[in-house]
């Protein structure tokens, strides 16, 4: 009986130990999930080693002084495959640069959790599906460039609440419906939407 109890106690400790990983490692896991979902013929993700304590030494990844990821720069990297919802766990991410690749699939709703995001560049890919209305939560966003994909559906009204938007490019997609003209969208003209 005592053996069973102590064994189960040990199991509980192990379970809890696994449930609370070092937060920086969770960011490495999130980026590794992205790597696993992408085809990388140019080996730009070769340095992405998930056994390291944090992803801050990985190429194309930039961290702040707390070893938390602030930038992911993978533009023009010949990547294909799909994005992953785990990207939403990079809570200090400011720049997500995935433009000019061959990435397909949808934009994950979880990107709306990146409340520190300043630049979201997914342009020149093969993304499809709608623009998630959760992107309206990105209240610090300055650059939103989703042009040259095959995104469909309507432009979410929630985007008009982002008052920091400076550059918005949704052109060359398959978006339908009305173009919002209220809120921050008073600054935007048809050249950003065709």
């Amino acid at each position: 009986m005592a053996t069973v109890l102590s064994l189960s106690f040990l199991c509980l400790i192990l379970v809890f130990a696994r449930l609370s990983p070092v937060s920086a490692n969770a960011e490495g896991d999130a980026l590794n999930a992205l790597k696993s979902n992408l085809a990388d013929p140019n080996n730009v993700l070769q340095s992405w080693d998930p056994t390291l304590v944090n992803p801050c030494t990985w190429l194309h990844v930039t961290c702040n002084s707390d070893n938390s990821v602030t930038r992911v720069d993978l533009g023009n990297a010949n990547l294909s495959g799909q994005l992953v919802p785990q990207l939403g766990q990079l809570e200090n991410l400011q720049y997500l640069e995935l433009y000019s690749n061959n990435i397909s699939g949808r934009i994950p709703n979880e990107l709306g959790n990146l409340t520190n995001l300043v630049s979201l560049d997914l342009y020149l890919n093969r993304l499809s599906g709608p623009i998630p209305d959760t992107l309206g939560k990105l209240q610090r966003l300055r650059f939103l460039r989703l042009n040259n994909n095959t995104l469909s559906g309507q432009i979410p009204m929630s985007l008009t609440t982002i008052n920091t938007l400076q550059v918005l490019d949704l052109s060359s997609n398959q978006l339908t419906g009305p173009i919002p003209v209220n809120g921050s969208f008073q600054l935007f003209t048809p050249i950003r939407f065709n």
């Binding site: 460039r145 040259n148 060359s172 003209t189």
Partner: protein
């Protein structure tokens, strides 16, 4: 802009299939270079097809050049007009303090104009101008008409210079999509053109501290996105416009001896 999709080539297969689908969307300027590229690429396509028919391996170089030409075409058009736009602006303005010294056009890589002083691009590696900010640079000359070639321009700031002459009477044909236009603190003269009322996306219109005279065109009040409108320190006269979706404070009209707000029985003396 053109988009290229192609399926992978397997040259080792003696009966290999090449499928190249090129979608052309509206092109702006049919430059001689583009027609040349189209002709040469058709020639290469025929060469590839013929090599396919006669059964030997098409040299990879041939196909590479073909693809490259199509890619070059796809970036050729809008990019070239924006480069010409900035070249024209530099040529038409005098720059005694050399603020535009970074505007060099000899090494033309993709996105090189994005590093020019005062130039904001839409995307960092594409020559497509978003904003031009040339405030307080001591520039002289007249309103740079070449700005019309920056077809995606949304912001133009020429404030704090010594630019003289009229504001172009066809300004909405030159910069029709502009949301912010700041011509303040220059030496602009003549009247405020009615055509400014056709720049329907204007949020900010600053014309203050110039030598503009005559009446403010009442149609300017129809600009429904206006947030900031300033004509103070000019020589304007007549009534102020009634804006349909903004309230313009009195100081925006100050220092125009002949300007009056009939509804408030105010005169905007110096």
């Amino acid at each position: 802009m053109k988009r290229i999709t192609r399926s992978p080539l397997s040259i080792k297969d003696p009966s290999f299939h090449t499928s190249l689908e090129v979608k052309y969307e509206a092109c702006l300027v049919p430059a001689i270079l583009s027609w040349f590229c189209i002709l040469v690429s058709f020639w290469f396509m025929i060469a590839v097809v013929m090599s396919m028919v006669s059964g030997f391996r098409a040299p990879p170089a041939l196909i590479t050049i073909f693809i490259w030409l199509l890619v070059v075409e796809s970036f050729g058009h809008a990019a070239q007009t924006d480069i010409d736009c900035l070249r024209d602006i530099q040529a038409s303005l005098q720059d005694p303090f050399n603020y535009l010294s970074s505007w060099r056009f000899n090494n033309t890589t993709e996105g090189f104009i994005c590093k020019f002083a005062g130039v904001d691009c839409w995307h960092p590696d594409e020559n497509k101008v978003l904003n031009i900010r040339l405030g307080d640079m001591g520039l002289r000359g007249k309103f740079p008409l070449g700005v019309s070639r920056c077809s995606s321009l949304t912001g133009l700031d020429l404030s704090g210079n010594s630019i003289r002459g009229n504001i172009p009477s066809n300004i909405s044909k030159l910069i029709g999509f502009v949301t912010s236009l700041d011509l303040s603190s220059n030496h602009f003269s003549g009247e405020i053109p009615v055509d400014l009322a056709n720049c329907s996306y204007l949020n900010i219109l600053k014309l203050d501290n110039n030598q503009l005279r005559g009446r403010i065109p009442p149609q300017i009040g129809l600009l429904n996105r206006i947030k900031t409108f300033s004509v103070s320190r000019n020589q304007l006269s007549g009534p102020v416009p009634r804006f349909i979706s903004a309230t313009i404070p009195a100081e925006s009209y100050a220092n125009n001896p002949g300007l009056c707000d009939i509804s408030a029985h105010l005169q905007f003396q110096a």
